[in-house]
Amino acid sequence: MPAAGSFGSLLDALRGVTWPARRTIRGPAAGTHRSRQRGISPEFTEYRPYRQGDDPRRLDWKLLARTDRAFLRITNDRATLGTILMLDASASMAFPLATQGKWTQACRIAIGLAAVANSAGDPVGVIVAGERGVAQLPPRTRRSVIGEAARLFESIEPAGSASLEPVLSLVRPTQRIVLISDFLADDDTLLRAARERITAGADVLAIHIVAREELEPSRASIIAQDPERPELKRSMVDETRQGYLEAFGAFRAELARGWRAAGAAYFEVPADEATDHAVRRITSLALAVSTEMRGA
């Protein structure tokens, strides 16, 4: 488990990074994300002829005085976007046992994304699904939420089996949901639940953490044992290594295709990738989508 005080350099590296929503959002509070509502912000967008029922307070009175025509001043509103980071703390995330690289990378990515979201004024919440149930921090906008999340991660030891699917129901559908997992414990149920949240308006990101040892297993002959299902043992030898690589590759490809087809953003993050680089990769994709939408 990463120490709470070990994120300083990561936060420094992510200073200035923005993480816009991938779509316009519906939110009351003023924030940095483009809102579906047109309102009273000083950022002018266009004029529209007054129609019956419009709020007369939005009339451009100066234009009415000069032209004797009633136009409404249309502006883009900005709203905040609640961000929920959901982490999988099952035993498979503790791999490799010596370094717990997958869990460490998951925590660092969560802290990085939380810091980026929090710097934009978005409320950030954390939910960790582990063997002992669910540990969560409700969404907060205060700065201390980063430290609280770090301390929460420090107190958790990945073990047993856990599923993120029941946790999804705890989240409001209008929020941005970040699922950080190796997706080995869940089958299609998590994807179905996520698809429902996406349909309801949620912005879902699936971040798939994989260890280097899973991508490129050692040439040494071993008997592999599933940490979540100890009864499952297979021989990793020269004859089975190629079959493993093909099957695992197919799994990852299908996982990416399924999440993207559901409307979620999917990212595969190796455990040994620099965390700030991974966070920038995740946020830059969302930024590209947002820019593209604005241009359209």
Partner: protein, 435 residues
């Protein structure tokens, strides 16, 4: 460096090759390792063992091979050698009773002894003189020996010491420096000589008298009716002007410093107190009656006096020259400078005819003999010397039995190093198993 048993190297090499082969071919149970993606491995039957034609546990293998090779090298008996000589010599110098100042023997030894050779001095027993100053040590030995030299002892010691020359000489030669008197050869000499396959160089010393020297006995402190004095009076008198005459002083009284000083110059001082109770010798715990006394030195033969004796004291510690019939010493002799002092603790009664008996006269003559007894150095016969010399070639040092030599220090250190490696091996194996 040479190896006295090179077959051990081949054996160690074979064992090492087997160890390497085992490390290449050995199968082992693969480790059970946690892998979250285990489900993606094709489901084939679990293999209990893994075999591979590649080196496993290289460090452990190197350690085992090193231990085996160290043991092999140690058993191969390595010897660090410098430049080898063609011939090494074992020089055996006779320091028996024949020659008091050893000058001639030492001079003869210096002609044959070279650095790296083995020098052995012998009388009745033999011992090697080691070190760079062996010849100096030989010349410096001024203490007289009263024992008759034994060629058999010298040959046995020389043959044993010859193996020490294996490291720096191709051949070895035995050199025997001795008067080669017949009395120095015994029944075992021929058999011992036959065990040495090469020839022996014989260097004969000149100090050999074929006839025993005459003896002049000076009796002191004796009363006119002294029985010992009476017995000596019956012995033949020697001409004191003769240079060959050996001087003996028999003191029936108390000794003085002058007597001791006189004895150191090569004479025999016999202390035979008339009153044994005041001799100062160790008093016996219980006086007992003894029926006879047996004495004998040199070539005079044994003298047995059968009578009733009551010994009350024990003679001083030394070479026993007379014994009571129960085996306890009655007279002893010990070297003193170039001469000797003889203590006689035999009471001779003044009354009776004991002093007049022929047996008593012979006993007194024996006990009043010069140091070492009256030895006649009769030269050994030519046939005996020819047999002793032999006709074979010099003995090659490789042919010498290696078992008689003690292991070298290098061998000891090699075995210690091998033992240390074998102690480390289980620790390393345990560490590998835990990893």
């Amino acid at each position: 460096m040479t190896f006295l048993a090179p077959w051990a190297l081949w054996a160690a090499g074979a064992v090492s090759a087997a160890v390497v082969a085992l490390h290449i071919l050995a199968s082992k149970n693969p480790k059970v390792t946690a892998l979250p993606t285990t489900r993606f491995i094709p489901d084939v039957p679990l293999r209990a063992t893994a075999r591979a034609l590649r080196l496993s546990d290289v460090l452990l293998m190197l350690l085992r091979v090193a231990a085996v090779m160290l043991v092999g090298v140690a058993f191969a008996r390595p010897e660090l050698t410098g430049a080898r000589r063609a011939v090494g010599r074992v020089v055996m110098v006779d320091l028996g009773a024949h020659d008091r100042d050893r000058t001639e023997a030492a001079d003869s030894a210096s002609r044959y002894y070279a650095r790296g050779d083995v020098l052995i001095s012998f009388d009745s027993a033999a011992h090697a003189i080691r070190g760079d100053n062996a010849l100096t040590s030989l010349r410096g030995e001024h203490d007289s020996t009263l024992a008759r030299a034994s060629v058999s002892a010298a040959l046995a010691a020389g043959m044993r010491a010859a193996s020490e020359l294996r490291g720096d000489a191709d051949s070895v030669e035995l050199v025997l420096i001795s008067p080669l008197a017949a009395s120095e050869l015994d029944a075992a000499t021929r058999a011992i000589r036959a065990a040495w396959p090469g020839r022996v160089r014989l260097v004969r010393l000149a100090a050999v008298d074929s006839v025993a020297a005459p003896v002049s006995i000076d009796v002191r402190g004796a009363t006119l009716d002294d029985p010992v004095r009476a017995a000596i009076a019956m012995l033949p008198r020697a001409d004191t002007l003769n240079k060959r005459t050996r001087l003996v002083r028999l003191d029936r009284g108390a000794p003085s410093g002058a007597d001791t000083s006189w004895a150191t110059r090569g004479a025999a001082y016999v202390r035979w107190p008339a009153s044994l109770d005041s001799s100062g010798w160790h008093r016996r715990a219980r006086a007992d009656t003894v029926g006879a006394v047996i004495g004998g030195i040199g070539d005079l033969g044994e003298a047995i006096v059968v009578s009733t004796f009551v010994p009350t004291v024990d003679a001083a510690v030394g070479h026993v020259v007379a014994r009571w019939v129960d085996g306890t010493p009655a007279a002893t002799e010990r070297a003193l400078g170039r001469g000797c002092v003889r203590d006689v603790a035999i009471p001779i009664a003044r009354s009776g005819d004991l002093a007049l008996r022929e047996s008593t006269r012979r006993l007194v003559a024996t006990l009043a003999a010069p140091c070492g007894g009256l030895v006649s150095f009769v030269p050994a016969s030519d046939s005996t010397l020819t047999q002793l010399r032999g006709t074979g070639p010099l003995v090659a040092t490789r042919a010498l039995d290696a078992r008689s030599s003690s292991p070298s220090r290098l061998t000891t250190w090699l075995l210690i190093a091998a033992l240390a490696l074998l102690l480390v091996e289980p620790l390393l194996r345990r560490q590998r198993a835990a990893a």
